[in-house]
C-alpha cells in the first residue's frame, strides 16, 4: 500500500563506491606488475572496493548496517555495479566485434573481409582468437591439444559442454556463438 524510500547506509555506500569503481581500476592498470593482465587488474580493483565498503560500513556509524539484510543489500548493489563494469571491461579487453571495428579504424581505408582478418588485433590475425580461446580451454583442463587435434577432456570439459547444452535447451535459443 505504500512505497518506503529510506535507503540503508550500506546500500548508499555501495552505490557510491560501485559508481566510482573505474578509479581503483585505473590505478591497477598503472601497476607495472599487473601490466596486460586485464582480468587480474579488474579482480584486484573489485577486492579493494569491497574492502573499502566493508570498512566504511563496519566503522563509520553514519553508514552502519542495521542487520544482516543491510549487509546483503549493500553487497548486492556493489556486486551489481562490478558486474556492469565487468561487462564493459570484458568488451574492451576481449570484445570480438569491437576488435574488428578497431582493425578497420587502424587501417583508415576500406578493407575486404580477408584483410580485416589479417589486420585483426594489430596484425596478429583472426587466427589469434582461436589460439587464445583454445589455450584458455586447455589451461582450464577442458580440452587437450595435440598438434592440430583438439579433444574434449573428462570430467570438466564434458560437464561444462553438457551444462551449456542444457542451458540452450532451457532457454530455447536457436543460435549461439
Amino acid at each position: 500500500m505504500m512505497i518506503d524510500f529510506s535507503m540503508p547506509g550500506p546500500l548508499l555506500v555501495a552505490l557510491v563506491l560501485g559508481f566510482f569503481l573505474p578509479i581503483p581500476l585505473w590505478f591497477m592498470t598503472r601497476l607495472s606488475s599487473l601490466r596486460e593482465r586485464n582480468p587480474v587488474q579488474f579482480l584486484y580493483a573489485v577486492i579493494l572496493t569491497f574492502g573499502v565498503w566493508f570498512l566504511t560500513v563496519a566503522f563509520v556509524p553514519m553508514f552502519a548496517a542495521g542487520g544482516l539484510e543491510d549487509w546483503l543489500v549493500g553487497g548486492m548493489a556493489l556486486a551489481g555495479g562490478a558486474l556492469v563494469y565487468l561487462e564493459i571491461w570484458g568488451l574492451m579487453s576481449r570484445g570480438y566485434t569491437l576488435s574488428v571495428i578497431a582493425a578497420l579504424h587502424e587501417a583508415r581505408r576500406p578493407l575486404t573481409p580477408d584483410e580485416i582478418a589479417r589486420n585483426y588485433r594489430g596484425g596478429d590475425g583472426l587466427g589469434w582468437i582461436m589460439r587464445h580461446r583454445l589455450g584458455g580451454l586447455e589451461a582450464a583442463g577442458m580440452v587437450t591439444l595435440d598438434d592440430d587435434r583438439v579433444t574434449l577432456q573428462a570430467p570438466g570439459g564434458f560437464f561444462v559442454a553438457r551444462l551449456y547444452r542444457l542451458c540452450i535447451q532451457v532457454l530455447g535459443l536457436r543460435s549461439t556463438g
Binding site: 518506503d4 596486460e36 539484510e69 558486474l83 561487462e87 579504424h105 582468437i129 574434449l152 549461439t176
Partner: protein
C-alpha cells in the same frame, strides 16, 4: 521490512525468468538480446506496482537492488551462453562422436565462417560499417565509436582486445 524487499526482488526475478522462457520461444526470430533486456525492463515496473498494490510495504531501493542484481547476474550468464566461442567449441566437441576435432576445422567453421561473417553483418546492420563492392569501411558513427573505444583502451592501459 528490508528482508521483505529482498524476497520481493527474488519473486520479481522468478517472474522475469518465467516470462523470458515463454518470450524466447514465441519470439524466436527476434534478436534474443533485445528480448531479455526488454523483458527485464517490462517486469520491473509491473512487479513494483503489484507489490505496492498487494504488499503492506515496499522499500523501493531494496526491491530494486535485489531485482537488478539478480537480473544482471542472469544477463552475464546469458551473454556467455549466447555469444561465447569457447562454449560453442566445447559443445561441438561433445556432439562429435569421437569428441575430437582439428583446430583448423574450428578455425574455418567459427572464426572465418559464421561467427566472423555474422559480426561483419551486425556492424553493417547497426550502421557502424558500410559495404562498398567487397570492402567494408566505418561509417561516421562507427568511426566515432572506434575513437571512443581506442581512447578508453589507452586510459585503462589495454594494449589490444580480442
Amino acid at each position: 521490512m528490508i528482508a521483505t524487499g529482498i524476497i520481493q526482488g527474488i519473486i520479481a526475478f522468478f517472474g522475469y525468468t518465467a516470462l523470458l522462457l515463454l518470450l524466447l520461444r514465441v519470439f524466436h526470430k527476434v534478436e534474443a538480446t533485445f528480448v531479455v533486456l526488454l523483458a527485464a525492463l517490462f517486469i520491473f515496473p509491473v512487479a513494483l506496482a503489484s507489490f505496492v498494490a498487494l504488499a503492506p510495504s515496499v522499500n523501493l531501493w531494496v526491491f530494486s537492488t535485489s531485482y537488478w542484481f539478480l537480473v544482471l547476474s542472469f544477463l552475464m550468464g546469458f551473454g556467455a551462453i549466447y555469444k561465447s566461442l569457447s562454449l560453442r567449441m566445447l559443445l561441438t566437441l561433445l556432439e562429435t562422436p569421437t569428441h575430437e576435432k582439428s583446430a583448423e576445422s574450428f578455425r574455418k567453421e567459427y572464426i572465418f565462417g559464421d561467427s566472423f561473417n555474422n559480426r561483419l553483418q551486425l556492424m553493417v546492420d547497426q550502421g557502424l560499417a558500410e559495404r562498398t563492392d567487397d570492402k567494408l569501411s566505418l561509417t561516421i558513427r562507427g568511426a566515432s565509436w572506434a575513437n571512443r573505444l581506442v581512447t578508453l583502451q589507452r586510459v585503462f592501459g589495454i594494449m589490444r582486445s580480442g
